[in-house]
Amino acid sequence: MKNQTTRIALIVAAVALSLVFLWPTVQDYRFRKQLSSLRGADSLSYVEQNQEAMLKAKLKRVKLGLDLQGGMRVVLEVDVIQLLNDIAKNRDDNFLTIIGDVRKESSATDESVIPALAKKFLERGIRMSRYYGSNIRAEDAEVTAYLQSETEKAIDRAIEVVRNRVDQYRVSEPNIQKQGSRRIIVELPGVKDENEVRQLLQGTALLEFRLLKDAQIAYKVMENIDKLLSGKLDTTFADTSAKGKQSVSKVAAPKKQTDALQELLGGNAPAEGDTTSAAKFQRENPFFYYVRPDQRGSGDGYVEAKNRDRVIALLARPEIQRVIPTDMEFSWSAKATTDKAGNQFYQIFPLKKSPELTGAVISDARSSISPEDGRPIVNMEMNSEGSREWARITGANINKRVAIVLDKAVFSAPVVQNKITGGRSQISNIDSPNEARLLEIVLRAGALPAPVAIIEQRSVGPSLGEDSIRAGFNSFTIAFVFTILFMVVYYHNAGGIADFALLFNVLFIMGVLAAFQATLTLPGIAGVILTLGMAVDANVLINERIREELAGGKTVRAAIEAGYAKAFAAIFDSNITTMLTGIVLYQFGTGPIQGFALTLIIGLAASMFSAIVITHVIFNLMTDRGMNPNFG
């Protein structure tokens, strides 16, 4: 057993360490108080003088959890499957089916997608090198490794992009971490507008400059779709998916035209006997019923807002897809316009599928107000390579339109007036200055390599946070006072000494939290309170033992030694078992619960130390001086 000097040395060391770790928190508190009492120029100069010290203090202080200071916590999941889809080459129907299956399966778990993909390829006896990588002779294992590293790189890039965006959004002390194989945890203290955060985090920010297809061709395609839907077009097409193979697939000839139409239009087709001119038009021209071609002959179409989903579904159908040329795509306008009658319309644009230029060439973006119409815009600048390309593209397409597409939505499709050599372009049709600002951030931070989805979101407003702080503080104070009173009443002197040791408990817990840069949450405070109750336990074990020994006739000094010796095993075993559950809780919990587990574990260790070492030292100091502590 350690002797007195070692014990005292240990206590001093522990206290010193705790104070050292807690010092930044104290400093930070003092800085903030000072700052809040200064005004204007004074506060500015104060910040300048102490900037470095303030930053250091801020970095190392005990942080408050989001549930105490308010803020948002978001878990993003990177759509790895979309990524695997995008980096594949020669995507054919087989590939699409496989990807579709993997997507369905993985929607249920967090497991790694790539092994699942590899298995599917194996099942079908197809080599993965057919779709991935440059070496057609590569083994599946090689390809899997390649995909794994590409995915990891993409996820790291995604984290960087998220970090950039969050940085520019000016959140103080954000916390961004990778979780598992494809998740990102983003904690944003003090953030309130979750709509904005969603926009900020979820958009892939894929910027594309795309040319429009010739108006004549566009109109012809729309006509073909219309004819196909109304049954006038020949429905047999060669399946061009497999190279060289000629398989003919027929779209099943509808038994009744109206049945097929009903199915296509989701039950919105005109009734069998409806003979109004509107119904007739719908039957004869089902596509143009919904998509009104632009009267000016630009090749665009206008769709009423309420029909937008239906048209999207229509255009996505495989039989319709086959009528659209492979280098063409219908893209939707990002915003709806309102006509004089108050109806809302979306535009669809016939765009060339492959972009002329992408957001990779954008070197800077700045939100601003257009001098022409006073509406918000974002001005973009390109790097030298981009500027060259842009000059070439604009030069070759004068009086033609170039669509500016962000995340597959067309913001505008202005006519090229002249060749643009300065690498400048602009996004217009933005609703609000806020949106412009978000776009600016998102364009500067870069495009996400794959879409991310928000799978978990928790936000706590500042007033809830304040309530929690108050509740935590109140309950801690009351519990503390109760514990102290009880110990003194029940164990007299010994109780008072145990109370004194309890103070050290709290100091040690806070010190360890500061040392680990852990965050204090409301459940964490509950953990501290719980440890107060359990700290009593260790002291009770010791004091009850000492009482027994005294009753057995030992001297005070001897009883104390015997009490500590005999109680040690019980204290040790019981606290360790409770700590085991704390460890399990830490492993399986997230966020605030981990905060609780942490304070519980630390608190138990601290209470063991203070009960076994600190009180012992004090008792011995007392008996050395001939004072006999009263054990009630």
């Binding site: 407003g461 309530d467 009880f486 459940p523 009593v536 019980a570 085991l580 460890i583 809780l585 609780f596």
Partner: protein, 305 residues
């Protein structure tokens, strides 16, 4: 000051009675679980939860009408916290991102124009996450059993580990049953299963085991000193000797939890309530169940050999 002078209670002799009581408690709990079921929070089910504060105390029926207007009439609406002005609205519908939260806030503003509301906080969990959290919670509880069994088996004897684990299994089931019975019964107390409640379970496992181990330690010590006594007599002696300590510790923790329950804020309320009850069953099981199991198992295995 002393609560208990030297007690001589026969815990072991009457253990069949206590087996009966324990089984009855567990049975009642399981019946409630089977028929009434348990209320899973959105942590484990997936869904969206919104906390709103109104200018004046709202009528729940008004709120429901407002919600119905946007197709969310099936949402759970409960009071939140100690003030009458705050409500928590919960729906398991899966929306496209924050459109669901916007819908709720919007329909409240439209449907109750005379009582303006502000959004205090929100949570949204995908069902996928809910499933993972459920699994994690289960693993956590099972692993804690395993860890405790191993540790006690090593420090004492295997049969002691068994006794301890059976005692905490009893605690977990009884407390679950208790939550199931009381869910929705006490106004202002939300007892749906959240991650905090699971944390309460794990903690009460830890604290119950704490008591049990102290008693086992005393038994271990007494076995060495009083070699002439039978195991049952030693157990009784140990239980009586540690009774004072057990009651005091459980008592203090219980009081501390009650402080948490009333002053610790809404987030800690479910936790404090669950653990408070857990302390009661934990103390009971440490005294009446754990040692009894060890004794009967030892007798039974002695009879076999």
């Amino acid at each position: 000051m002393r609560f208990f002078k030297k007690t001589v209670i026969d815990f072991i002799g009457k253990r069949n009675l206590w087996y009966f009581v324990s089984s009855a408690m567990m049975l009642v709990g399981m019946l409630s679980l089977a028929f009434k079921g348990i209320n899973l929070g959105i942590d484990f089910r997936g869904g969206t939860e919104v906390i709103v504060a109104f200018a004046t105390p709202p009528q729940i029926s008004d709120v429901r009408t407002a919600m119905r207007a946007s197709g969310l009439g099936a949402s759970e609406i409960k009071t939140y916290g100690t003030s009458d002005n705050a409500l928590i609205i919960r729906t398991t519908e899966q929306g496209q991102g924050s459109t669901l939260i916007n819908r709720i806030v919007g329909s409240l503003q439209q449907g109750m124009p005379t009582n303006p509301s502000t959004l205090l906080g929100s949570s949204e969990i995908f069902p996928k996450i809910g499933k993972e959290l459920r699994q994690n919670a289960l693993y956590a509880i099972v692993w804690s059993f395993v860890a405790i069994l191993l540790y006690i088996a090593i420090r004492f004897k295997f049969v002691y580990g068994l006794g301890a684990v059976i005692a905490i299994v009893h605690d977990v089931f009884t407390t679950f049953g208790f939550l199931s019975i009381l869910d929705g019964v006490i106004p202002g107390l939300n007892l749906e299963i959240t991650t905090e409640i699971i944390a309460a379970f794990l903690t009460l496992i830890g604290v119950s085991v704490n008591d049990t181990v102290v008693i086992f330690d005393r038994i271990r010590e007494n076995e060495k000193i009083h070699r002439s006594l039978s195991l049952g007599e030693i157990m009784n002696k140990s239980l009586n000797e540690t009774l004072s300590r057990t009651i005091i510790t459980s008592g203090t923790i219980f009081v501390v939890l009650m402080v948490l329950l009333f002053f610790g804020g809404e987030v800690n309320r479910g936790f404090a309530f669950t653990m408070g009850f857990g302390i009661l069953t934990g103390t009971y099981s440490s005294i009446y169940v754990a040692s009894a199991i060890v004794l009967d198992w030892s007798l039974w295995s002695k009879k076999k050999s």
